[in-house]
Structures are given as C-alpha cells and as structure tokens.
Amino acid sequence: MEKTRANIARKTALVVHPDIEALTVFQGALKQNGIQTILARDLPTALLAITQHYFDVAIVSSRISDEGDGWALAGVLRMAFPQSHISVIAPQTGVLELKSAINHGISSIHEHSTSPEEVVTSALATSPAHVQ
C-alpha cells in the first residue's frame, strides 16, 4: 500500500532531446531528485507521452528534428500543463530566444553548454510549489 501511495505521489518529468547521451544524463539527474522520467528523442514519441502522462516538469531541446521545432512542442506542453515547469535548452539565450521563451510560456531557458544537473536543479528550484 505504501509503495502504491509513493508511486501516486511521485512527480514525473518529460525530457525531449535528439541526443541519447544527453537524455541519459538528464534521466540520471532527475532520478537523483526522485523524479520519474519519460524520455523522447522525436516529436511523435513526445506527443504520445503527453497524451498518456501528467508532467510536472518538462525539459525540451529547441531542436528535435528541425531547428526550432522544440519551441512549438514546449508551447504545446504549456497549453497541456499550465502549472508545470517547462524548460527549453537552446544554442544561445539572446533576444530572439528570450522572446520565444516568453511567447511560448516557457519557465526557463538554458544554453546547450549548461550541464544537465544545473538545468534540473534550476527547474526544481524555481517550481517548489509543484515539484517536491
């Protein structure tokens, strides 16, 4: 019974990134924080996951198969999960990226050079009400 309760209370994250190594590192960092993680390397898998889970946290690369398609996915995630923390990883965080982030309702934006551990720590720290 306790195990079932723990599973129900467990938070879930979605990580969408074309690079399998990056996915593995993100999964490790999220697991260390007690977050169950669903991984996707492409848009169809990510969209399927969105229909089947509630995500408290999502970390999305700005490029999945084409440059910029991650922004649209992040916007869909915001519409599907209005209270969740949505992070985007982009090549840079200039004016255009920040504008995209605001207009897609993104919670935080990180450069590719940011370590996955740092992205996860930032995501969990900035949404304490939703991810414990």
């Binding site: 920040l98 605001i102 309702g105 993104i106 934006i109």
Partner: protein
C-alpha cells in the same frame, strides 16, 4: 450578452496608443489608454479591472514599462500582460520572463499576431480559471 474584454494600452507616444486603441476597439475590445507608468499604476489603484494590459517599455524612464507589468501582475484579478517595445534586449527580456509576462511584441507591431496572441491568452485564462 457577455461584457467585452477590457484592455489598457500604456504608451507615451499618443499616436501609438491611439492607433492601438482603435485597432483593439475595431476587434471588439473595450480599450483605454494611459501615457505613463504613473498614470497606469493610478488606474490600477482606482479599482479599474483590466483583462489585458499592453505596455511600452521606455516611457518617462528606460524600461519603466516593467514597473507597469509588475504592478499589473500583482493585481487580484491578474490580467494578461503584454510588452510592446522597440527596445527589447536580453536584460529587459530576462526581467520580463522572470516576472512571467505573457507575451512580447516588437515594434512595429504585427497587428494580426498581437490580436491572435490576445485571443489565445484570454481563452487560456478562461479555460484554466487562472
């Protein structure tokens, strides 16, 4: 008949504020204008309720539109907050993102994009009850 959404347009350039007001009114909104941060904040304090606040950034001081946005975001009935600026930079956009501004439009504003964003954000607000 439901009340038309009420929009506050804040811009120190009278012609810009007036043009935006006319565009919004022709799209079915009730729109009023303010020409400074101080004027906008005074309206917030006078129990006016706004569904949308569109503010310029550089008015009586550089980036003072962020103060308008912050004051609007603190209102009990939080309106949709949109920044409309010709002077976006990483510093003011990071500040806008941190305070959870809903949308940024760069001048010269793409009117169909702006109207579509307002419709979408209001619909989302209604759907989520936020």
């Amino acid at each position: 008949m439901p009340l038309r959404p009420r929009v506050l347009v804040v811009d120190d350039e009278t012609s810009v504020a007036r043009t935006l007001r006319m565009i919004l009114e022709s799209d079915g909104y009730r729109a009023i204008t303010a020409h400074s941060c101080a004027e906008a904040v005074e309206l917030f304090g006078n129990s006016h309720r706004f569904d949308v606040v569109i503010t310029d950034l550089n008015m009586e001081q550089p980036n003072i539109g962020l103060n308008v946005a912050q004051a609007a975001l603190k209102l009990k009935n939080r309106p949709v907050v949109i920044i409309c600026t010709g002077f976006a930079d990483t510093e003011n956009l990071q500040a806008a993102m941190k305070m959870q501004v809903d949308y940024v439009v760069t001048k010269p504003a793409d009117v169909p994009e702006l109207l579509q964003a307002i419709r979408r954000l209001l619909a989302m607000r209604k759907a989520t009850g936020a």
